[in-house]
């Protein structure tokens, strides 16, 4: 078997290379030749091709993502910012929290179980490589129509994959989203979020410093999974007859990941590690080039030392393999023995594959022959950057003009129509109970879960002594972003912010997972540009920085892109989790209020979507100053014990919120409709900047004063009441003098949809 070495590359400058098959453009290939002043070896070509891919290099999105730094609000809470594996936020008392969300969309469509499982695995390794103990996961998911045949294939597989991996790993799953829309039918979205915590002095970074320090690869052995395009190279270079089609979806082993977490945290806490990096996309290529690029600039690797699952792998394949459950650590020679003792204690394999040098080059040898000799920055950080053309789509005006006016979409008018609409809405796949899914996830493990689905935000206790905790929520209504990507993204931010405040936590930082269609489509690129601009402006206005994120392009079927889906995650801190505000009513007789203004806003609403399959008009107005005032009332109300329950108003409107609060508490309610309000608008509008709260009668005065001090409109809309259904020995929700719904009817409508489709 002949190996393409550096010296051969110098001697055979004209050998044709399959750069196009590996996804490189002709000018990108030319640039590699200029950087190296020769043609790349096949191993070098493989490394550049994966590291310069959209997924690793952010070449189409970089120019837009820059705004998150340029417009970042001033904060002293950010300990590590964008660019590292995950941002790190100071939450006080010496604790730091790191969190990040990533996409695993395409693998999950090809192989739902493994795709979703390894999505969880990858994000968890990002968190441990910062030195943090992972504490919880969440999964924002998007599927095609709930009753589409392919959804029946994809959804159960993805849910079992997330459960199968996360449950076995021992991380509670505390929230996320499950949303159905036609546009995701051929391209479901599987985003995975992980949150972890550490003491301030435990933060670790991905850098290879200290000449002579050793580079250790540990965890699972390297196999042929997840190699993707590199098999082209392997077959072209070596043996055109051999079957080179490797599975491009990785296979997860959560048990190994659990050992990897424990072993990694133990070596980190023992102070045995100088730098650390997880292996995900682009495998060893990514880990070695990023470690070297962030460190002293040089590294030498003996690639033949890598432990293999399959001895026939070529060096190119080893460099590119995306085998799961692997980590790379930089360890000083005096610590290596102690490091190995701990790794072995956890029955994990490890091998020294390289060392830090001062050469300024990343060099790789294969059985004594030099196969890679490159400046590491050119691989890891100085890839191509594109200013993709973008333009407002020519259909945007028509879409926005098609508003859901009463003339355009028939609205329910009388009590019986409103009642029927309510029951149909409660059963809509997007609004129905998601318990069939979330009951397959362990939400209890680790014993620190304070709030989990269906709460507005997941909440985790960080410090058992002081009660310090964090809350996190992810949100995005893709219909709003389709109608107006700038406003829609701010609405996603506002909802996530509001959810965190509703739980009683103070928002601190933002992460995102930007799922879009092809960046080569100017329409899509315009959506992306508007969404990032909206998010950066919104974060500046709310005073919370973006700490990191992920971009997923090419989410489309044929030339039809998905709804632009910038999932926004907001992290908040709560000083004492005992003071959290629950979603469920607490006491019979508590007074129910809605905070904020309810307007006739139905464009992009679930009502328009579910009842009329309509999407058009302008999304609800967003007022971030109002969101801040609302947040202030929710957080102060929680801290001072003024609120006994709170729930953000979003999809489905006020009536959805009332029913959820009632069903989860087991106590009914009597709802009144303000006389100046249209009944339909009051019940179903999706105006932003609102929350429903319950207040004990003796707290009303303080509550009114708190709202007044924050200039926040407040309207009394009912009372928690366990007696209204007394005659029929049941709990009921009574909507004004129009109609009464028993809990039996509400449960029937709200909880049967998903089991009927998927169980």
């Amino acid at each position: 078997m002949s190996i393409d070495t550096v010296s051969q590359a110098a001697q055979t400058p004209d050998r044709a290379q399959p750069f196009a098959e590996l996804g490189l453009k002709a000018d990108e290939y030319q640039r590699i030749r200029e950087i190296l002043d020769r043609r790349p070896t096949s191993s070098e070509l493989a490394m550049y091709s994966v590291m310069w891919s959209e997924h690793c290099s952010y070449k189409s999105s970089k120019v837009h993502l820059k705004q998150f730094g340029d417009k970042a609000p001033k904060t002293d809470k950010l300990l590590v910012g964008i660019g590292e594996n995950a941002g790190v936020v100071d939450i006080g008392q010496g604790w730091a929290v790191t969190f990040k969300v990533e996409s695993h969309n395409h693998p999950s469509y090809v192989e739902p179980y493994q795709g979703a499982a390894t999505g969880v695995g990858g994000i968890v390794r990002d968190i441990i490589s910062m030195g943090a103990r992972p504490l919880a996961i969440m999964d924002p998911l998007r599927f095609g129509p709930a009753d589409a045949p392919d959804t029946l294939r994809v959804l159960p597989g993805i849910v079992s994959g997330i459960g199968g991996y996360g449950n076995c790993l021992g991380l509670p799953n505390i929230g996320g989203e499950i949303i159905f829309d036609e546009s995701y039918a051929g391209n479901p979205l599987v985003n995975a979020l992980c949150i972890g915590a550490m003491r301030h002095d435990e933060i670790h970074l991905a850098s290879a410093k200290g000449v002579g320090n050793l580079v250790v690869l540990y965890g699972a052995r390297t196999g042929g999974d997840g190699i993707g395009g590199v098999s082209v190279l392997a077959s072209e270079t070596f043996d055109a007859d051999s079957p080179a089609k490797r599975p491009s979806v990785q296979v997860g082993d959560p048990f190994m990941e659990k050992l990897l977490i424990e072993a990694t945290l133990e070596v980190l806490h023992a102070g045995l590690v100088e730098g650390i990096q997880d292996l995900g996309g682009a495998g060893i290529s990514c880990a070695t080039s990023e470690l070297a690029s962030n460190g002293d600039g040089g590294m030498h690797v003996w690639l033949d030392r890598v432990l293999l699952r399959d001895a026939t792998l070529t060096p190119e394949e080893i460099l590119m393999s995306e085998s799961q459950e692997r980590m790379c650590a930089v360890v000083s020679p005096e610590n290596i023995d102690a490091f190995m003792v701990i790794i072995n204690k956890w029955d994990v394999e490890a091998v020294v594959i390289g060392e830090v040098t001062d050469s300024g080059r990343l060099t790789v040898d294969w059985h004594g022959e030099r196969i890679v000799d490159v400046p590491p920055r050119t691989v890891a950080h100085e890839g191509p950057i594109y200013e993709r053309p973008y333009a407002r789509p020519d259909w945007q005006d028509a879409l926005q003009a098609d508003a859901p006016t009463p003339e355009r979409l028939a609205r329910p008018e009388n009590a019986s129509q409103l009642r029927m609409t309510l029951l149909r809405m409660l059963a809509a796949p997007n609004l129905a109970s998601k318990a069939w899914v979330t009951d397959q996830y362990d939400r209890y493990v680790l014993g620190n879960t304070v709030l989990a689905q269906p709460a507005d935000a997941g909440m985790i206790r960080i410090d058992e002594e002081s009660g310090l905790g964090v809350a996190i929520s992810t949100d995005c209504n893709g219909r709003f972003t389709k109608l107006d990507p700038y406003t829609g993204t701010q609405l996603a931010l506002a909802e996530s912010y509001r959810n965190v405040c509703a739980s009683g936590a103070v928002p601190l930082a933002v992460t995102n997972c930007l799922n879009f269609g092809s960046p080569e489509d100017p329409d899509v690129m315009w959506q992306f540009a508007e969404a990032t601009r909206g998010l950066a402006d919104g974060c500046l206005q709310l005073g919370i920085p973006v700490t990191g994120g992920n971009v997923s392009f090419y989410n489309q079927t044929g030339s039809t892109a998905i709804l632009p889906t910038p999932v926004v995650g907001v992290l908040g801190v709560i000083q004492n989790v005992d003071l959290r505000t629950p979603l469920a009513w607490k006491n019979d007789g508590d007074i129910i209020f809605v905070l904020g203004d309810t307007r006739d806003e139905f464009a992009g609403s679930e009502w328009a979507n579910h009842m009329h399959k309509h999407l058009g008009g302008l999304p609800p107005m967003v007022d971030l100053e109002r969101e801040r005032s609302l947040g202030e009332v929710l957080v102060t109300g929680s801290r001072e014990g003024i609120l006994s329950a709170a729930h953000d108003v979003s999809d489905g409107g006020i009536v959805q919120v009332i029913v959820e609060m009632a069903l989860h508490s087991g106590i009914g309610a009597l709802i009144t409709i303000p006389t100046d309000m249209d009944r339909f608008t009051f019940l179903f509008s999706e105006s932003a900047g609102r929350a429903v709260v319950a207040v004990e009668p003796e707290q009303i005065e303080r509550f009114q004063a708190l709202c007044a001090a924050n200039d926040l409109p407040v309207t009394q809309i009912g009372v928690v009441d366990s007696t209204a259904g007394f005659a029929s020995q049941t709990q009921v929700v009574k909507i004004a003098d129009m109609f009464t719904l028993t809990f039996a009817e509400l449960f029937e409508a709200h909880t049967k949809t998903l089991p009927a489709l998927f169980a």
């Binding site: 021992g170 082993d253 048990f255 362990d442 209890y444 493990v445 680790l446 014993g447 304070v450």
Partner: protein
């Protein structure tokens, strides 16, 4: 009172079990699967999780851990042992308890707040409860369907060795709604639901689970 909590590779609820022991007033002692030494503990808990990834068969590999030789010998000598979820599976694989735990009837992992009835309060781990007391604790398993042959089931029932039964919903298809059993002597108990997740109002559905941990402390004080 020193209660050992064993960590196998892939144990997940070991920290939770230790927390429950502390909240009940005991001292939790970490035991390691590879260390064939019980460090003079007064009782042992085999916690929940996916030891060895549940590969081969739940509990089938952990059963051979060095520490298990000591646990089996001590249990046969009367040392109180509680196996929760994966720990229950390990106790069955170790033949300290009869029967086996198989894949849930509906094939899905299930996590829910489960109502149970304490059927027997004579064991070392259930004495704090009233016989017939109804409690709610989390249940979370993929392979929690208790099975045994008819003769064994009749024996368990006849000798009062079913310590807890599922009420309202049988979440995993367990025969005769069995959630937990004990050995003849009453020192070894296996339980599929997770009492260690119901020890604080803040994080659990109830604090009903504490009874398992206070039971053992009381049993030892009285011993």
């Amino acid at each position: 009172m020193r209660i050992g909590v064993v960590t196998f590779p892939g144990s997940l609820d070991d920290r939770d079990a230790a927390r429950a022991v502390r909240l009940a007033g005991g001292e939790a002692v970490a035991l390691w699967h590879g260390d064939a030494d019980l460090h003079k503990v007064d009782a042992v808990i085999l916690p929940g999780g996916f030891s060895y990834g549940d590969y081969l068969r739940c509990g089938a590999i952990s059963r051979f851990a060095p520490v298990m030789g000591e646990v089996v010998a001590a249990a046969n000598g009367g040392l109180p042992v509680l196996g929760i979820c994966n720990g229950f599976q390990i106790l069955c694989e170790s033949h300290l308890l009869p029967g086996a735990l198989t894949r849930n009837e509906k094939l899905h992992f299930v996590c829910r707040d489960q109502k149970l009835r304490i059927e027997d309060n004579t064991s070392a781990w259930t004495s704090s409860y009233a016989s017939g007391q109804e409690i709610i604790v989390p249940l979370k398993n993929g392979e929690g369907c208790f099975v045994a042959d008819e003769k064994t089931l009749d024996e368990l029932e006849g000798e009062g060795r079913v310590i807890a039964r599922y009420l309202d919903v049988n979440p995993n298809g367990s025969l005769r709604d069995i959630a937990g059993i004990r050995n003849t002597r009453g020192n070894v108990v296996g339980l599929m639901p997770h009492p260690e997740h119901a020890v604080e109002q803040l994080t659990g559905p109830t604090t009903d689970g504490l009874g398992f941990f206070t039971s053992i402390l009381t049993a030892m004080v009285n011993a």
